[in-house]
Amino acid sequence: MNINATLLGQMITFGLFIWFTMKFVWPLLIDAMAERESKIADGLAAAERGHHEKELAEERAKQLLHETKDKARDIIAQSQKRADEIVDAAKDEARHEGDRLKTAARAEIDQEITQAKEELRKEVVSIALVGAEQVLLREVDAAAHEEVLSKLVEQF
């Protein structure tokens, strides 16, 4: 329990240990830790920035999408309108064409009817003439009756 020279030895040892820690251990570790701290802080800041940028980009994308949707809706509406117009125009044209065709056909039919009537009349005249010739034969003066019959034909 007595104090002796060990005290001095231990003091020297202790002093050397303190000096060693102070010179060769502590600064290196503290520096490394400070450096890591700043690295982590930088990383966190970068992450924060990235996050912010992502939010902005998302916002922009949303806006863009919105605009595009609007545009698309406009385009669809326009094309719908245009299609309606085209269909209407086509319908009109078709109706006109139909009308025109109908009129032409009717005209043609009328013409043909007229022609047929003409031919029929002529035929009736000749049949009547033949019949009259057969009935009346010699005693009829062909020239005199020709005139009467022509008048009759005129009445048809």
Partner: protein, 256 residues
């Protein structure tokens, strides 16, 4: 029981508490204290040096992680109680904590383990726990005390330090009283520092030795709780020594 087989209980105890010495009178060296404390300190510092040398700012390895944990622990304590700038206090605190903790930790080894091994190698005495040696605890506390005086003079100047000794707390008319009070106050610091650590560890070791005197089948019933309790004690004592050193040194830095 030790290899030589001591004659009785008190001889066994005394054997365990006797240092291995060389020299005579004041010039006696407690070889066991010196050897064990230097070995432990060197191992710890070597480990710390390896960690510090390989320290990277990147992802730390296991050793670096552990060492950094200690560094941060000490650094936090220092920052909490010392508000100046000093390259010394934090490393000093770290050295104290690690070293004292390791020396205290020898207390948790079975009391007979190292003495018996030493006995086989022809070493008659071995006191395993260096912190149960007053020489060691006083060496540390006196070193701290010298640092306190050194920093007091460095920060306040010799005159300032003298003024603090002479004129506080009662002003210049009670100068002798001031001086005596101040001397007692200052001297109490290293003495209490050294005796606290010594007393705790000496008592702890003594109880371990007493437990070792019990029959072998009974030893665990007392040894286990005491050892578990002692894990707390050795850490706490290392922490207190470090903490008080930091506080004393920051007081030395303060200007009145």
């Amino acid at each position: 029981m030790s290899a030589e087989g001591p004659a009785n209980a008190s001889e066994y105890i005394v054997h365990h508490l006797t240092n291995l010495t060389v020299g005579e009178g004041f010039w006696t060296f407690n070889l066991d204290t010196l050897f064990i404390s230097i070995t432990l300190g060197s191992i710890a510092l070597a480990l710390f040096r390896i960690a510090a040398k390989n320290a990277t700012a990147g992802v730390p390895g296991k050793l670096q992680n552990f060492v950094e944990l200690m560094v941060v622990f000490v650094d936090t304590q220092v920052k909490d109680s010392f508000h100046g700038r000093s390259a010394l206090i934090a490393p000093l605190g770290l050295t104290i904590f690690i070293w004292v903790f390791l020396m205290n930790f020898m207390d948790l080894l079975p009391v007979d383990l190292l003495p018996v091994v030493a006995g086989w190698m022809g070493v008659p005495y071995l006191r395993v726990v260096p912190t149960t040696d007053l020489n060691l605890t006083f060496a540390m506390s006196i070193t701290v005390f010298l640092l306190m005086i050194f920093y007091s003079i460095k920060i306040k100047g010799a005159v300032g330090f003298a003024k603090e000794l002479l004129f506080h707390p009662f002003g210049k008319w009670l100068l002798p009283v001031n001086l005596i009070l101040k001397l007692v106050e200052e001297l109490a610091k290293p003495i209490s520092l050294a005796l606290r650590l010594f007393g705790n560890l000496y008592a702890g070791e003594l109880i371990f030795i007493l437990i070792a005197l019990l029959p072998w089948w009974l030893q665990f019933s007392l040894g286990l709780p005491w050892a578990i309790f002692h894990i707390l004690i050795i850490t706490l004592q290392a922490f207190i020594f470090m903490m008080l050193t930091i506080v004393y040194l920051s007081m030395a830095h303060e200007d009145h």
